[in-house]
């Protein structure tokens, strides 16, 4: 008959039910013997106090053994029955019951492959997360850089604006037109000067 080690019960109780029963059996049996011994002592003492009594201690011992062997037989039989009931009804985890510490077993039990798959998935996600973090750093770095570049570009634009404003402050709305009209006016002035010089020459010679 294969012995049921009742490991699951030992996990709950911290001892094996069989050990517990053995402990109770030995204790009960010791008491039975002790009490029988006490009975015999009392009887022997009583007999001592009775004069000319023809019952010998050996005879009393035989009576004790007779009563004890009967009691022991009944004791073992009754204890065997009690032990069965203990192991079935008290010191036992019913088959449909899971101990609290094993709650996680209630759900899906994981095969080696599934477990490795899950671990692989986690590693992939960790890599992905790191990549995303690096991307974030790079994007933030570029945004910082853009801020600097934009500031410089805006500075340059401001410079051009200021130039334009300087012109505007001095009545020049459009430099190019002003220059063109300057060139034209200069040309006109030169022509006028040339004419004047020619007229002058002519007057000198006449």
């Amino acid at each position: 008959m294969s012995v049921d080690p009742m490991t699951y019960e030992a996990q709950f109780f911290g001892f094996t039910p069989q050990t517990c029963m053995l402990r109770i059996y030995i204790a009960f049996q010791d008491y039975l013997f002790e009490v029988m011994q006490a009975v015999e002592q009392v009887i022997l003492k009583k007999l001592d106090s009775i004069s000319d009594c023809d019952i010998s201690p050996v005879q009393i011992r035989k009576c004790t053994e007779k009563f004890l062997s009967f009691m022991k037989g009944r004791f073992d039989n009754l204890f065997g029955k009690m032990e069965q009931l203990f192991l079935q009804l008290i010191l036992r985890i019913p088959p449909n019951i899971l101990l609290p510490e094993d709650k996680s077993q209630e759900t899906h039990s994981y095969s080696e492959e599934e477990f490795q798959l899950l671990q692989k998935e986690i590693e992939q996600l960790q890599r992905k997360y790191k990549t995303e973090l690096c991307a974030k750093q790079a994007l933030l770095a570029e945004l910082e850089e853009q801020k600097i570049v934009q500031a410089k570009l805006k500075q340059t634009l401001t410079l051009f604006d200021e130039l334009t404003n300087v012109g505007r402050d001095h009545g020049i709305s459009d430099f190019r037109e002003s220059l063109v009209s300057l060139v034209q006016n200069s040309r006109k002035l030169q022509n006028i000067r040339d004419n004047i010089e020619k007229e002058g020459e002519r007057l000198k010679t006449s």
């Binding site: 996990q11 109770i24 009563f67 995303e132 994007l139 634009l157 060139v183």
Partner: protein, 176 residues
């Protein structure tokens, strides 16, 4: 129907055990075994027998109490009652250790790894969303930089275009 607590069951069983043991070791049987002493001292025999029974019962109940005390058995049995009560709806046999620690441990760890995976998934998704926004911002920034560069280029060309007029003006002004 009504579930008896394990502690009560234990006491009942011990009590039954004792009653049957005492029934087996009846006074009749006791006097049969100690016949001659009984004939000599019937009252004494009765007293000794009574004491025998009382002492046996006391010792056994003391032992039971001691075991209950020692292993805190009552509390443990009551907690087992509770566990069984909570699991009463479940009919099929529950899981038991497979004897392969790695296999059993996988299921213990799996819920936490699943949690970690879900948390990581959420983090990745959150980071991806954030990065999408950042990428949009970067693209917008690039466009703005391009825009500014074009504006500056336009200005630059405009000013460079003045160069021709400047030269012409200088030439005109320089003419003798």
């Amino acid at each position: 129907g009504t579930t008896i607590s394990r502690v009560k069951l234990l006491d009942t069983m011990v009590d039954t055990f004792l009653q049957k043991l005492i029934a087996a070791g009846s006074y009749q049987r006791f006097t049969d075994c100690y016949k001659r002493f009984y004939q000599l001292q019937p009252e004494m025999t009765q007293r000794i027998y009574d004491k025998f029974i009382t002492q046996l019962q006391t010792s056994i109940w003391e032992e039971i109490s001691e075991i209950k005390q020692e292993g805190n058995l009552e509390a443990i049995l009551n907690s087992l009652d509770k566990i069984v009560e909570e699991g009463r709806d479940r009919k099929e046999p529950a899981w038991r250790p497979s004897g392969i620690p790695e296999a059993d441990l996988r299921s213990t760890m799996a819920p936490y790894l699943l949690q970690q995976r879900d948390a990581l998934q959420r983090r990745v998704q959150k980071q991806e969303a954030e990065n999408r926004q950042l990428a949009d911002a970067v693209l917008a920034g690039r466009r703005q930089v391009e825009e500014l560069q074009l504006q500056i280029q336009a200005w630059q060309q405009a000013w460079q275009a003045l160069h021709g007029e400047q030269r012409e003006l200088a030439a005109v002004l320089r003419e003798p």
